[in-house]
Amino acid sequence: MSKRRVPSPQWLLVLPALALLTVILLVPLGRSVGRSVGAPVWTFEHYKALFTDGVTLTVLGRTAATAAMVTVIALLLGYPYAYVMTRVGPRLRGLLMVIVLVPFWTSVMARNFAWILILQRNGPVDSFFQLFGLHVVLFESVSGVVVAMSQVLLPFMVLPLFSTLSSIDRRLLLAARGLGSHPVKAFWRIYWPLSRGGVVSGVILVFTLSLGFYVTPALLGSPQESLVAQLLGQRTTQLLDFEGASALGMLVLVVTLVLVAWANRVGGTISAIGAVATTRTEGRR
């Protein structure tokens, strides 16, 4: 055996944090895994049930569709915004960056309450459309959930996009224009492909984060059209089906981690989230 290096005493400093994380996250999650395979008797029944009970698959499909809608909206709104950010002066860019971070500052419950106010029957949105003889009540519908979730997740689209778009050499566009290319064509052939890294990482990130939303669909969504997080909560606290809930939780967790790992490989998303996290107070970067 080769000589074993003595662990550095530095590790002693890391231990308390690791201990906390172990007790609060790893052990409960590990026990979830255990429950989901039915310890003490080894079984995949609970996983099989997810795909055969007729409810879970429907809810999973609805959750994925909702997440996809949120992602598309975030991309359609986030891309132009990030683009404009790269093109304005430093002062205005600072302001636009602070505005991006407003959803991070806003308290979760305050924000959800605000969306109830905005989307409810006879609320501002409904009143506006009543002028045209229409009733638009997004409250207690999937659309309302999509609108509210897009607003919260938009920063996760804008921030990776902004960092990718700022690194694109605009002289390439000038060159294309100089050679007679139409601006739209120059955008599609040159700018868009160069921005793809940011697009992919923003898209994966927003989609992934959408999957786990609990409070927004619970408050703004329709009870008949629940999403996976509510199903998870319901199985745990109301049905006390800890095994089924554990299996479903593991499924959500695995899908999330795989997608996040992918996004991370594409665009260094984990560090991007870290940066986002710190910008919550630091304002701009």
């Binding site: 007790v23 996250l25 409960p28 979760v108 989230i273 996290a277 304002g283």
Partner: protein, 274 residues
């Protein structure tokens, strides 16, 4: 907005790659979308109404009065402050220690440990909440102060780790050797040399951990008990069960407090940098 609507410059005047007006307009609309919810909560908090009707009727402070006198809201506020203080203290201590430890550690194991400590940031809160709830039931931590503090500290650790690590990035390790060679024991070196130099990172991390705990609602919903619940949970109840517009006042208080904290931190930070 009016500038956007002015006559567009002629083709000759336009710079080669000026931002088209419709893009500016779109960016303006998106900017509005970002701040929209905040714009609704504060006017609502001065309403005289007893429902969620918007636009608010009349003008009064009665929602604030109710928030600061009703024992249900006051207790929830106090619980949240206590939990957030203890959780951020714990997260800051273990997170700072971990950042210091990992700063000079290299290799696979150190990278793994860092990832592990960051994992709660990307784990859906609902999955954590369900797993914690099931385990805490058995450990009899549901509805207890210790349960809230431990859970919230664990989700606060990544924020401390990130901000202290980034502060350590600009730290010159020669100072440690200088301090040691002058005879200072490690603890004194930390207190007199390291801590002051990374204090901004520690404070930032602590504030994050505090705000994260103070605002956390998903895990708190699962850990709540009739005897002990936090402010976001009471806000949740006020929407789902009670239809109590006092939530508008509490939202405004929370939003204002968080924004002021962030701005102060920003101000302190930018002054320190110069």
């Amino acid at each position: 907005m009016t500038a956007v609507l002015e006559k567009a410059p002629t083709r000759r005047e336009r710079a080669v790659d000026a931002i088209p007006w419709w893009l500016k307009l779109l960016a303006g609309v998106v900017a509005l979308y970002f701040v929209l919810p905040t714009l609704f909560v504060i006017p609502m908090s001065f309403s005289t109404a007893t429902t969620f009707q918007f636009p608010p009727k009349g003008f009064s402070f009665h929602l604030y009065e109710n928030f600061f006198t009703n024992p249900v809201w006051l207790d929830a506020l106090r619980n949240s402050v206590v939990v957030a203080l203890l959780a951020s203290l714990l997260a800051t201590v273990v997170g700072t220690a971990a950042a210091l430890g990992l700063h000079n550690l290299q290799g696979r194991l150190a990278r793994f440990a860092r990832t592990l400590l960051m994992i709660s940031i990307v784990t859906p809160a609902i999955v954590i909440a369900v797993a914690i709830y099931i385990s805490f039931l058995q450990w009899q931590l549901v509805g207890t102060l210790a349960g809230y503090v431990l859970a919230h500290a664990a989700i606060g650790v990544p924020f401390v780790l990130v901000s202290v690590s980034s502060a350590l990035g600009g730290f010159d390790p020669k100072l440690l050797r200088a301090s040691a060679s002058l005879g200072a024991p490690p603890v004194r070196t930390f207190l007199r040399v390291t801590a002051p130099l990374i204090s901004r990172g520690i404070v930032t991390g602590a504030v994050f951990a505090f705000v994260t705990s103070f605002d956390e609602v998903v895990i708190a919903l699962f850990l709540r008990s009739p005897a002990l619940q936090t402010l976001p949970v009471q806000m949740y109840n006020s929407v789902t069960v009670e239809i109590d517009p006092t939530i508008a006042a509490s939202s405004s208080v929370v939003v204002t407090a968080v924004t002021v904290t962030c701005l102060v931190l920003q101000f302190v930070g930018s002054r320190r940098k110069k």
